[in-house]
Symmetry: D2
Subunit: 367 residues, 4 copies
Amino acid sequence: MSSSFGKLFRISTWGESHGGGVGVTVDGCPPRLPLEASDIQVELDRRRPGQSDIVTPRKEEDRCEILSGVFQGKTLGTPIAILVRNTDARPEAYREMETAFRPSHADFTYQCKYGIRNWEGGGRSSARETIGRVAAGAIAAKVLRTICPALEIIAFVKSVQEITFHADLDLLSRETVEANPVRCPDPSVAARMIERIKSVREQGDSVGGIIECVVRGLPPGLGEPIFDRLEADLAKAMLSIPATKGFEIGSGFIGSLLLGSEHNDRFVIRDGEVRTTTNFSGGVQGGISNGEAIVFRTAFKPTATIAKKQATVTVTGEETELAARGRHDPCVLPRAVPVVEAMTALVLCDHLLRQRATDALPRTSDF
Amino acid sequence: MSSSFGKLFRISTWGESHGGGVGVTVDGCPPRLPLEASDIQVELDRRRPGQSDIVTPRKEEDRCEILSGVFQGKTLGTPIAILVRNTDARPEAYREMETAFRPSHADFTYQCKYGIRNWEGGGRSSARETIGRVAAGAIAAKVLRTICPALEIIAFVKSVQEITFHADLDLLSRETVEANPVRCPDPSVAARMIERIKSVREQGDSVGGIIECVVRGLPPGLGEPIFDRLEADLAKAMLSIPATKGFEIGSGFIGSLLLGSEHNDRFVIRDGEVRTTTNFSGGVQGGISNGEAIVFRTAFKPTATIAKKQATVTVTGEETELAARGRHDPCVLPRAVPVVEAMTALVLCDHLLRQRATDALPRTSDF
Amino acid sequence: MSSSFGKLFRISTWGESHGGGVGVTVDGCPPRLPLEASDIQVELDRRRPGQSDIVTPRKEEDRCEILSGVFQGKTLGTPIAILVRNTDARPEAYREMETAFRPSHADFTYQCKYGIRNWEGGGRSSARETIGRVAAGAIAAKVLRTICPALEIIAFVKSVQEITFHADLDLLSRETVEANPVRCPDPSVAARMIERIKSVREQGDSVGGIIECVVRGLPPGLGEPIFDRLEADLAKAMLSIPATKGFEIGSGFIGSLLLGSEHNDRFVIRDGEVRTTTNFSGGVQGGISNGEAIVFRTAFKPTATIAKKQATVTVTGEETELAARGRHDPCVLPRAVPVVEAMTALVLCDHLLRQRATDALPRTSDF
Amino acid sequence: MSSSFGKLFRISTWGESHGGGVGVTVDGCPPRLPLEASDIQVELDRRRPGQSDIVTPRKEEDRCEILSGVFQGKTLGTPIAILVRNTDARPEAYREMETAFRPSHADFTYQCKYGIRNWEGGGRSSARETIGRVAAGAIAAKVLRTICPALEIIAFVKSVQEITFHADLDLLSRETVEANPVRCPDPSVAARMIERIKSVREQGDSVGGIIECVVRGLPPGLGEPIFDRLEADLAKAMLSIPATKGFEIGSGFIGSLLLGSEHNDRFVIRDGEVRTTTNFSGGVQGGISNGEAIVFRTAFKPTATIAKKQATVTVTGEETELAARGRHDPCVLPRAVPVVEAMTALVLCDHLLRQRATDALPRTSDF
């Protein structure tokens, strides 16, 4: 069950970095949605290695094949299976990891849990698994746009270490995010981030940072109170991405410093609709969307696999040192942006379908 | 589905603050566990209103009744249903909320989602719902202690606004947490927090803060890679608690400032076991526990319902002002501590049972 | 998980026959449905003991209390918790069962599975558990009737042993079913069934039979291909009722004797709609409703608990004899009719909500 | 969700008969199980077309590829994805079905439900979907055999129309079942069945029948009371197989003719164990296995797709006639035998893992 996500728009990923490939099955996609492989490929291309000089130089093309669920360019309502073959496998680069655990990586805990692990390329714990999420997210985003044409999901790199971009969220666009390889919308901040990433890579080290995501145009009423609150499902979605250490929505941790009278978002009537004057809530109240922009941030730690030599232990319990030889990202954030967007689309699409089922009886009058 | 949590140790809560009562059903509790109502009551008493002069003075005793699943003092393996009657209901105190939406509360979004809402006492969005979680968490904790006798789950108030306690996590104990009504283990910091809470209450205002939770004695190997990572399920659990805005584990947001070489937790052999020299990971690597202490923090916003007059709108779309008359907590954190612990116990107990099922085949040799 | 049923309209039952009570929580009921306790009580009264002289004379009134989820006579969209207290408990009548296993009852298998069991009145394995199903089914039926006003679910006793009623399904009505205590629509067949039941009861024995259920007015398109086919979910629902041994839909087992050319239901256009000339399919093709009547049958074995003395063994492995002293039904079928209808309503309501979610995109043209 | 089955050992199938292929993902398989493609292929070969002269002559080899979840010949505990490419597609043979609905097939209901369908080869409703089930069932069977070495699952064709084999279940073996192409263990009955199948095929017609399945060596205690009873989950599993119309366990429908005193299975002590003298229960009591053989039967209707011309209607609502040109099985039962076994293995493996989780606390004494 651990490799499935969602209740109604439900995805299941599979695959190791050095096995036959990686993929995903999407069960619950509504029928009659126009869908082609290119709809998915465009997002995979944003995630793939080798797209710029600040990410891993691995050569994977990550070409996707839709194996089922689509007929004559439209979804059938049946499971959509998507396959991406592994091509640039170099297991020999991981040979040391057969015996030594990378510090802060999943090597040790997989061994504890399963008593076995695929040490080639990190196996299932490799970020290659997120290919399936990005592919499924591209489909979810298409469903969302069909039902809510105004919906936009835009994630971007807010910070790399202490280098931080303070966004005017109203001015954000996919274009400004994609305008540079680090996916920070401000060109000058982006330049500093790129410089930092290149610098730490040269030192055989790595850096982390924060990705912010904004959702505009989401109707009110999505999210289920109690356990499946919108922010709870978003938190789970974000913390399920490798290398994440934190999640906050709206005012987040800083919000804990304010008084209630400062933090409460006043309601007003604007253009005939109930709106708020501020958005400390981040678009969610009581677990349910309120029609304002959803705004949340996710913290990523620095990549665990680094070229610098580190103390560690072996599978047989001896102390040793390890310096990674694989071709690793010095900073996962630029390639994590489409993953954050994909997981967001998956959560929202699932809740959109759930709300359709919940709201099954006629509304005799507007509230 | 929105009111259920867990896969194998699965709870379902129900109830509104001013209906017949609130409760929970626990499905999946192993049989033969000694269990009495007093095991549950002791935790409900930590959560209930009126326990000190810094929380709401409502008079609910919150006496629980075990309706099923226990026979002659032991669990049967069948669902355990627990009922707590509502007793101190005063719907008239909520009369204004029939027509006006409290800013930053769930009134507006429930109305959008359902087209109907129980405005008495907040209905389902009331924190009374967490009674069911605390009751179920008490059972989960008992299961955990039976299987892992060394396990301890200790949450405490780390900060109220900027007043912050920097804990030495090794010295924490349930006793120091319970030694004062604000549930901050340091007496002098606690005194300042209490003073602050009383002060803002006098002003008709409210404050938020941060709760930290530490889990000691958890064996390695719990948590499922990919979507049901331990930190992802903890994040969802925490963000499902009312008034939460953020979650972080281990190094959290601050961890995004470090270099990989600083952040990686080196493995060493200590007392014959694989351990780490630091714990930036917060006890979880690759989604799976590594045997170190689990450490995470949850941010709570200031209570939305305040006595101060605030601008808002009515159900029929007119602008108005609202000053709450109910008996509300000026700071939810002291009473949220047992809720954080309960949700933590629920996540861990579920993963413990899942790991038993996963690890079904004999391990022919230690790794 | 074993005590929950349904994906979107999801129920969870709890309770033992001699504990604090029995009940159910319904999660996923759409909001704004008019609902009162009397809507539920009328169905519980059809199921309760003591309603006629051919069922157990136990005196339970089975009064239900709605604890949550309803406000001012309408559902809130939140979980609906329903409680029925146990009143006529006589544990002493079950004292022998503390040590001896009733043949063909659940005593032995519960002991194997759980290592503990509530032997008073059968505990969780008592048919009292079906109270929760009937209560939830009454709500499901109300949702169905609101969305599909033409829908009718009518179950009846088709046979008691070899005494069989061959129904003209078009003439069936709830009134003819309820016209006699055995719930067989034909008065003369019903009289023979009643005579048989009384006769076997006098001998300290019991009988079984077959219940047929007809659903009229169900729209086409409900049911999910592959695993959650309509007939698969109905089969599971029926075989989850105590004492059932078989399920068949449409032509059923007899259908295996026909040629394809005899068995295939020809399509014709009738009143502008695609209809079939025969209904060997029982209203379901490829797992999906086709608009014809759903027709299925469920076989019930004779009640296991009988007054006649039978050989058995004790908990400690000694051979012994057992004659039940409890007040047991000599034939469960009359009281099982509302349970069959309830489980049918639960399956259909769940699939109706699922279809709403599946069919989320606009149909640009009729097929 | 409709294409997934199981709670802990969970499979998800995907694929249409004329798309890129069909496949399955198995999530929840315990780690360290020896597994190779040949373990799966042997079962697929029992299911594939063209294996004898009484089944469809289609030429599919159905070669499986394990894409993930296995490393150096052992399972990793991660999802196992299996792919079988479609090779002998002839969409032109299905051209008429683009416009005309086959009587008693899924063409019409898929069109109702989805507003679109893949008419080539029946698309998702094709029995090719069961490839995924058989592949996953082979893995489940291996898990079961590892944990319960004595376990045997043997299905066989009990009847083709009225030609019936009355088995001595103690003498059954996989070898006698596999000794002839119709998979009926008695050579003379098998010969008559084969003759009948060939005869109806010559007439352009089809026949149905009954498959019986026996499980020996299952430990007591598997199955969850209430909704996930072992017989309920088996009933769902069987009725989810295409062309099934009925399910019965133990005494089944005939059991409804007996008296309780005749039907009850007396307990005795045999070889120090609690056993029963008869097995009308079919190995399940109160939803839980009792250690006796599980015995159940599944009714299959005659194949819907036949060469004989039949009246039907078109997608646009005109009456027409249709004679199928595809290469169809005149009788699905011989190839359904491995599907019945696979679904049985999936149900049992899932319940075995669930029981491990349920039985988490130490048993202080044997009961």
